[in-house]
Amino acid sequence: MHSDNMRKNIKILSLFLFFGITILLIMAGIKGKVGETLLYQSSDVKNIEISGPFESSGSTSRYALTEAIVEDKTIILNEQRAKFASPDVAEYNGKYFTLFTPGVSFIGVPFYFIGKILKIPQILTFLSSSIFAIINMGLIIYLGRKFGLGFYASLLSGFLFLFATNALSYSFTFTQHQASTMIILLGTLNALGKRNSVNNIIYGLLYGIGLFIDIPNGLMMLPQVIYILLRHFEIKWGSEKLRLKFSLNYTTILVGLIPILILFGLYNYFLTNSFTQIAQAVGRTEDFSAQAEFVSDSLTQKEFSGYTLETRGLINGLPILLVSNQRGLFYYNSVVVFGLISYILFYRKNHKKIWLLLIFSIVIVNILTYSMHLDPYGGWAFGPRYLIPATALLSIGIGKFFQQNKSFLYYLIPLVICFYGVGVNVLGAMTSTQVPPKVEAVMLLKETPYTYVYNWQLLGEGKISSLLYNALYANKISPEIYVYTYFYICILVVLTLFILIRNERRILYE
C-alpha cells in the first residue's frame, strides 16, 4: 500500500517534470531573430527573411488577418498587410483578404491582444500553435492511456510525436497544422465517448471549428461523423426477430455545427458576397507578385490555390507523401512505424478494434486527401506538414511497441530510429520550414538541397531560428552547440522514458 502510494506520487512528479521539460524545450524553440526580436512585433515593418517567424506566407497571411482584426477591427487587409500576406492573398471587388480559412487567425486574436499589451504580439500570437502542440501531446498521452498503454509508454508516445516528427517545426509557425490536429484528436476522443446530446453538440462544434481552421478537416473528420452515426443505431438479433433502433439524437450534432457554419457563411459573405464561396475559390491575386521589397525565398513557392483534389494526383502524391526524401512520412516521421506495428499487435489481440478502425480511417483519409492535392509537397515546407494529424494518430501507439517484453538488443535499432527522428526534426525546427520541393529546387539559381540537408546547410551558415538562442546565447555559444544541446536533452528524455517503461513493465510482471 505504501509502495503503491509512493509509485503514484512518483508518477505525479514525473508528469510534472515531463511537462516542465517539454514546455521548456518548446520555449527554447520559439522563433525570433537576434537584434531584430522587436522588429517582428511592430505592425509597420516586418522582416520576412528565412528562418524568421515570418519566413512563410502560411504564417504571414494568417497573422495579417489577426493583426487587422485587433488593430483595425476588420477582416479586410490593407495594402501593406496584403503585401505582407502575399502570395496567399485573394482579392474581390477591391478588397484584399487572406486566402486561408480564418480559424487560426481568429484563435490568434486573444493571444495577439495580450501580446499587444506586453508589446510582444507576434510572439504571443505564434505561441498559440505551441500551446496547441503541447495540448496535442497531452491528448496523445491521454488516448494512449485509454488504449491501455502504460504510464511511461504513453508519455513516450506523446514526446516522440512532438519531438521526433515534423510536428515540432510546425509548433513554431502560425499555421493550421497543430490546431487541426487538436480538433481531430478531440473529435476522435469525442467519437469514442458516450453518445448523448451534449457530446453530439460538442462534436458538432468541433466539426465546425475544424472547417473554420482548414476545409480538408471536414474530410478527415468524416470517419468520425460516420462512426458517430453508426453508434446511433442499435441492432439486436433475437431468436425470432431482428430489431433495429435509430436514435435521432444524432441530429443534435447540427445544434453545435450550425452556429459555426452561420459564422463561416457570414465571413464568406462579407468577403465574397456569397455565403458559400470561400477565399480559396476566389484564388490568389497577382497584385503583389512583383513586390521586390517583400521577395524572399519563401515567396518563390508555387502553391496551388483552392482545394482541388484529383484522383490522378495519387500516382505521384502517395510516394511523395509516404516515402520520398522530400516529404515522406516514413522518411521524416519514421517513428510512426512503431505506432503502426503496435496497432497491428493490438488488432491481432482483438484489443479495441473499433478504435483502431476509426484511427486507421482518419489516417487513410488524411493521406489520400493530400495525395490527391495538386501540390502534395505543401509548397516550401519541412516534411509532410499535411500529415501531422495522421502522425499524431499513429503516434498514440508508439509506446506500446516499447512496452513489449523484449531484450534491450531488440530495441537498439528502434531507438536509433527515434534518435534519427529527433535529430532531423530538431534540425528542421531550429532552422527553417522553407525547404523547396525537388521540382523547384532544381530551378533555383543557387543550388539548394530539397531535403533536411538544406536545414543542415542553414545551421552551418548560422541561420538559427530560436529566439532564446538569438536573444541570449548568440554571443556565448555556437548555433551548433545550441542545437546539439537541444537534441541531447530530447534524447535523454527518450532514454529515460525507455528505461522507465522497462522498469514499469518489470514491476508489473513481478
Binding site: 451534449v198 500516382i315 483519409v365
Partner: protein, 541 residues
C-alpha cells in the same frame, strides 16, 4: 434531454431475412444483368449526348469497317480487312446497315455494352466459385462498374470491353476446370479464348499462356498422356480463331502473315515510330513496366491497384484456396505480362503522361487489368472482415473524387492524344459541299476512315482501296472517276497520293482547302461533265 429526442424502431423476422438472403443468392445474376444493363444504356446515352460517344478515331474506323461489309461500292465480307482482328466487325453486321445505328455508334457500342454486363456477371461468378461472400462479390462488381474509363469504353465502338468479356470469361471457365475438372468447362474456356483471339492479339497471348498453364498443371498431376490430351483438346478449339485468321489472310491477301507485315499492320506503324525515335520502351524492361503500370494507375485511380495487389497477395497466401485455383488465377494477369512484353519487344506503343512523354496514346490498354483488380479487391474485402468498411470507404471516397475531377484518361487519350486528331474540318467540308452533289470522293480508308465516318455521307460515295476496280480505275485516271480527292499531299504513306503519283492528276484538280490532316481537291469545272457519277462497274471483284 435524450429522452425527448425520438427514436426510429424497425424490426424484421429472422426467417424473412433468411428468405431474402436465399432469394438474393438465387436471383442475383438476373438482378445484376438488369441493373448493369440500365447503367450501360444510361451511360451510352450520356456519352452520346455530350458528344464523346465517338471521340476515338478508331471507334469511327471500326464502324466504317462494319458498314463497308453491307454498303458501299463493293460490299462484302472481304471488307473486314486485315488491320484489326475481325470479331468486333462481324458483330456489327446485323445492325450497322441502319444509318442511325451506324452514325450514333450504337452498332459498335452494343457489343461493348453487352460485354460490360457480362464482365460484371463473370466477376460476380468468379468470386462466388472461390467462396467469396455476397458483399465481396457485389463490391467487386461495384469497383468494376464505377470506373469511369470502363463506363466510357462500354459506351463506344472500341474493342476493349469485348476483349475483357472474352478473356475474363476464358479465365473464369479455366478456373472452373482447374477447380472441378469438368471437361465442359475446358471447352467453354477454349471457346471464350478463341473468341478473344479474334478481338485482339492479347487473346493470342492468353491462348498460349493458358496452354502453358494447362500443360504444367496436368503434367504434374496426371502425367504426359493426360497433359497431351488436355492441351490438344484446348488448343483445337482455342486456336481455331487464329487458324481462321491465317486462312483469311491467305485467301484475301495471298499471304498468311499479311496482318503482321502488311502495309497497314501494327508492325509497319511501329517501324515508323521506331524511325522517329518514339518507340522508347523497346529493349527497356524497366520503362516498359513503368509505362504499363502508369497506364493502369491512370485507368484505375491508383489506389485500386494497391488494394488489388494486397488482395492478390492474400489470395496467394491463403491456404484454404487450392493450388489449382491459384494456378488458374494467373490467367487474370495475362494482360500485364502481354503488354509489358509487347512494349519491351517493340510490338506495341504506349504514351503515358509522366513516362518520357507528355501526351497520351493507347493509355486505355491499362484498363485491361480492371477485372483482375476488381476480383482481387472483392477477395480482399471478403477477407478483411473488420477492415472491409474501411476498404469500402476508401473506394467510395476515390470514386466520388474521380467523378468530381472527371478523371477519365481514356477520353483524354481520345481527344488530345495521338488517337484524337481532329478531322472535323475536313469531314465538315465534305458534308457541306459533297452531300447534295453527284460524284465520288477518292480517299484512302487506311489514312482517313475517321473523315469518312464523320462526314456522314453514305459509304457508296467513296472510292477507297477496298473498292476493287473503282480504286484501280480512279487511281489511274482520277479525272474520269473522282469529283473530289482527299489526301495528305506529298505523304507516300497516304495510299491515294502514292497511287496517284504516276498520273498527272494536278492538271485536273484545284486545291479547295488545306487542313492539318488532309487536303481537299475538287475536279476543275471543265472536266466535270465527263466524270463518272454512277456506280456502273459490274463484276467488281
Amino acid at each position: 434531454m435524450n429522452s425527448i429526442i425520438p427514436e426510429i424502431h424497425f424490426s424484421i423476422s429472422i426467417s424473412k431475412i433468411e428468405n431474402i438472403k436465399k432469394w438474393l443468392d438465387k436471383y442475383m445474376v438476373i438482378i445484376l444483368v438488369v441493373i448493369l444493363s440500365v447503367i450501360s444504356m444510361f451511360f451510352f446515352d450520356h456519352f452520346l449526348k455530350n458528344g464523346m460517344g465517338l471521340a476515338y478515331n478508331d471507334a469511327r474506323s471500326h464502324l466504317d469497317i462494319g458498314r463497308r461489309v453491307v454498303e458501299g461500292l463493293k460490299p462484302g465480307l472481304a471488307q473486314i480487312g486485315s488491320v484489326w482482328l475481325p470479331l468486333p466487325h462481324f458483330l456489327m453486321i446485323p445492325t450497322v446497315w441502319v444509318n442511325s445505328l451506324w452514325h450514333s455508334g450504337f452498332s459498335g457500342a452494343i457489343q461493348s455494352m453487352i460485354s460490360f454486363v457480362l464482365v460484371g456477371v463473370i466477376i460476380y461468378q468468379y468470386l462466388k466459385k472461390i467462396k467469396v461472400g455476397l458483399f465481396g462479390r457485389l463490391f467487386a462488381v461495384f469497383v468494376f462498374i464505377s470506373n469511369l474509363n470502363i463506363l466510357y469504353l462500354q459506351s463506344t465502338a472500341m474493342t476493349e470491353l469485348l476483349l475483357l468479356a472474352t478473356m475474363t470469361g476464358g479465365a473464369y471457365f479455366l478456373m472452373l476446370w482447374f477447380k472441378e475438372n469438368k471437361l465442359l468447362d475446358l471447352i467453354k474456356a477454349s471457346f471464350c479464348i478463341m473468341l478473344s483471339t479474334l478481338v485482339r492479339y492479347d487473346g493470342w497471348f492468353l491462348f498460349l499462356f493458358s496452354i502453358g498453364l494447362i500443360a504444367y498443371y496436368v503434367l504434374n498431376k496426371k502425367g504426359y498422356k493426360e497433359a497431351e490430351g488436355a492441351v490438344i483438346l484446348f488448343a483445337t478449339l482455342g486456336g481455331f480463331g487464329i487458324f481462321l485468321w491465317f486462312l483469311w489472310n491467305t485467301l484475301i491477301y495471298g499471304e498468311p502473315l499479311y496482318f503482321i507485315f502488311g502495309p497497314f499492320s501494327a508492325y509497319a506503324q511501329q517501324a515508323q515510330l521506331k524511325e522517329a525515335g518514339e518507340l522508347f520502351t523497346q529493349g527497356n524492361l524497366w520503362l516498359s513496366i513503368k509505362a504499363y503500370i502508369y497506364a493502369v494507375f491512370y485507368n484505375t485511380y491508383t489506389i485500386n491497384v494497391y488494394l488489388g495487389l494486397i488482395g492478390a497477395i492474400l489470395f496467394w497466401k491463403d491456404k484454404k484456396v487450392k493450388k489449382p485455383i491459384k494456378i488458374a488465377s494467373l490467367t487474370l494477369f495475362a494482360p500485364l505480362i502481354f503488354n509489358v512484353s509487347a512494349l519491351y519487344l517493340g510490338h506495341s506503343v504506349l504514351f503515358v503522361k509522366g513516362v518520357k512523354v507528355d501526351t497520351w496514346f493507347n493509355v486505355r490498354y491499362g484498363l485491361l487489368l480492371m477485372p483482375t483488380i476488381a476480383i482481387f479487391i472483392g477477395y480482399l474485402v471478403d477477407k478483411a472482415k473488420d477492415f472491409r468498411w474501411i476498404i469500402f470507404g476508401i473506394t467510395l471516397f476515390i470514386t466520388i473524387f474521380a467523378t468530381m475531377s472527371k478523371d477519365v484518361a481514356t477520353i483524354e487519350d481520345a481527344l488530345i492524344g495521338s488517337s484524337g486528331k481532329n478531322v472535323s474540318e475536313v469531314s465538315g467540308w465534305l458534308k457541306e459541299n459533297v452531300e447534295e452533289e453527284p460524284g465520288f470522293v477518292l480517299i484512302s480508308v487506311a489514312s482517313h476512315d475517321a473523315i469518312i465516318f464523320s462526314s456522314g455521307l453514305p459509304m457508296k460515295k467513296f472510292i477507297h482501296e477496298g473498292t476493287g476496280k473503282y480504286w484501280k480505275e480512279a487511281t489511274e485516271n482520277p479525272q474520269e472517276w473522282a469529283s473530289w480527292i482527299v489526301m495528305r499531299t506529298n505523304d507516300v504513306n497516304d495510299m491515294t497520293f502514292k497511287d496517284l503519283a504516276d498520273t498527272n492528276w494536278e492538271n485536273y484538280y484545284n486545291l479547295v482547302d488545306h487542313y492539318p490532316f488532309a487536303d481537299i481537291y475538287e475536279l476543275k469545272p471543265e472536266f466535270k461533265a465527263s466524270v463518272q457519277t454512277q456506280a456502273v462497274l459490274a463484276n467488281n471483284k
